[in-house]
Structure formats: C-alpha cells, structure tokens
Symmetry: C2
Subunit: 196 residues, 2 copies
DNA sequence: GTCTATATACCGATAGAC
DNA sequence: GTCTATCGGTATATAGAC
C-alpha cells in the first residue's frame, strides 16, 4: 500500500477514536495527527481541515458498521433474537470497536447544529432505516427511525446508569416498539390490554 | 429582589440558552456573561467557573421541567393521551422553552465523560424514572429508563430528519414500549406482582 | 507528502481597581 | 459585587523548508 493511502487510513482511524472518546470539540487536529503518527499538516493536506475529516468519516467509516450490523441481524432467527443481535452490537460490538455508538452520538450532535452536515447525516440515516423497514415489514417507514432512536436512547441511559438497563429489558423494549408499530400499520385492531 | 439574586438568575438563564443552542463547549464564559448583561467576573463570583454553572443548572433548572412534564402526564387520561402528552413536551414544550431537550442532550454528553457529573445526572435520572415507573406500574423499574431513552432517541431522529417522525408514530412507539415491558413483568413472574 | 515554525484568535481563569 | 486588564494555554490554519 502506498504511503499516502496508509496515512489517510491512519488519520481516519485516529479521528474516529479521538472523536468518540474526547468528543469532536475535545479532539484537536494536532492530537489526531499525533495519534496517527503524523503531524497536523497531513490532516490539512488530505482533508482540508477538521471538518473535512469529519465528513469523510461520516460517509465512509460508519456506513461499514451499519452494514455489518444488518448482516448480523439478518442471520438471526425470530424477532427476539434479532432484537438481541441489534442490542448486542450496541453494548458489545463484535465488529469494529466499542466506540461506534459514541461516535454516532458525536456525529449527531455536530450535524444537528450545521445544515450541511445534517443533510449528509439524514441520507445516511435513511439508508439505515430503509434496511430496518424492509427487514421488519414496515411499509410506511416507521419502524426504522423508532428502532434506531430507541437503540441510541437506551445507550444514553445505560452510559449514565448501567444498572438501569438490563439486556433483557432492552430486548423487550425493542420488541415492544416493533410490535406496537406493526399492529398500527396492519390495522389488525388487536386487543390492547389497557390496565390501570 | 436583590441585585445578587437577579444576576444569578440571569446567568443561569443565559447559560441554559447558550448551552442548548451552541453546545457546552461552544458557549464561552464571556458569551454567557454578556448575554446576561454582566461580565465574566460575575460567573466566577457566583459559580466558581463554567462547571459550577453547569452543575447548578443540572440540579435546579432541569428538575423543574421534569416536574412540569410529570404534572401534564398525570392530568391526561388513558395510555395514549399520556404518551401524547409526553411527546408533546418534546416537540412543542408548553412549559419553559423549546430548548430543554437540547440542553438535556448537552448535559448527557458532558456527564457521560466526567465521573462526578455522571453521578449527579444519574441521581436526577433516577428521580425521573421513579416517577414514570410508579405512573405506569413498573415494579422493577424498567419502564422509566426505556421511555426516557425512547423520547430522547426519537427526538434525535426528528432533529436530523423531521419528516421521519410523525406525532402519531411516536405515540405508537412509546405505547409499544410500555405495553411490551408491562407484559414481560407480568408474564415472567420473576418479579413482584404488578400493583394497581 | 510531510515536516517545522508561526500567525492569529479565543479560551478559562485570576488579580486588582472601584 | 462587578468591572477592566491580563496571563497562560491551546485552538485552527497557513507558509515554506525538505
């Protein structure tokens, strides 16, 4: 592999790591370059700056994770196992590293305040949602956003208080969303046992 | 009201506003002081620094919102209306301002990386969860974290792509979580009986 | 392509006038 | 109590040597 491609990859890896652990604001260009065994000049040469590095990360690195997760879900059988596979990739990622959810949060936060980044992230989200919607038969595209939101939200609660989110309850909650939305879309009018 | 209390309140208001809109890192002490009609010295005199301001905000201002939301939910009748009330406070907050969810995300992000802030936030979360758990009869405390997570997660998706989250589907997803978790606690029988 | 050196700007925090 | 002035540190980004 050429030196240039090697540097590019090292910079992207280092950026993903530092953005996830220290946050996008907390990771300086110098720190990223140093972690990649280069100096800041390399970042500006390859990506034009910090934001260029971020955009590149947004469209490349994270898509790979989405794909890997989708593959694991497709391999599982039954709704419960699929939900468990989904949640497992949040708590103990088999593929890649444990940093992808943290990076996901960082990218969201950054994009939620900048129009250009927001539009790019929206496209990526839509791809991920579409995969979920087709997997769980949600013709009007409601399951995808809800599931992805719940995954991120449960992870937020877990990061603050790990004891509050057991694997079992996470799976139950995820299943509840899928079943709840599916019942709505199929208009089956199943009995919803209201208590209280 | 004395000048001192007035200044304190103005600084807290300005901090909540700027932390929510620009992010905690993006809001400088000078900017906060200026927005409050004071100078940075006032911040250090009242709160000892930026972090003191943040902690004060974490334990005071946001608790009021939690309380207000709980009151609105308690006033609603039926699960659907309760979920709608919950979601309405995310999309179109009646009490306070539209910034509280953004501030919630900022506080979470800050706390997720700092132990002391994380423990303080955990206590606040636990108070909010306990209210939800007693409201929806979740003896083992699973509904609270799941609902709060889903609310925050749905808001994340909505901020990136508003068209993906309709009010109707949000309510359906929230209801799905409550029903899903409630069924688990009663069916498994591994926990206490559901109280009504 | 990658480095060193540097320009420019802003940050959090402090000291002391008033 | 609140102000001005300022220190020390660090950020992004650039210019030019190699």
């Amino acid at each position: 592999m050429e030196r240039r491609a090697e540097t590019r990859r090292a910079l992207l890896d280092a950026a993903a790591e530092l953005f996830a652990t220290r946050g996008i604001d907390g990771a300086s260009v110098d720190a990223i370059a140093e972690a990649a065994g280069r100096t800041s000049g390399a970042v500006y040469d390859h990506f034009g700056g910090k934001e260029g590095l971020l955009f590149c990360l947004l469209e490349g690195w994270v898509d790979d994770v989405t794909e890997a997760v989708a593959a694991q879900v497709a391999a599982a059988e039954g709704l419960d196992e699929q939900m468990a596979a989904l949640w497992r990739n949040v708590t103990r990622p088999v593929t890649g590293d444990g940093r992808w959810i943290a990076l996901e949060h960082e990218l969201w936060r950054y994009a939620s305040r900048r129009d250009e980044a927001r539009e790019r992230l929206a496209l990526r989200y839509q791809r991920a949602w579409a995969g979920m919607d087709s997997e769980w038969a949600s013709p009007d595209g409601t399951v995808g956003p809800a599931l992805m939101g719940l995954l991120l939200g449960l992870d937020m609660m877990r990061r603050i208080d790990p004891s509050a989110i057991s694997d079992c309850m996470a799976v139950e909650a995820l299943r509840g969303v899928v079943l709840g939305l599916r019942r709505e879309t199929t208009a089956a009018g199943e009995t919803k046992q209201e208590r209280r």
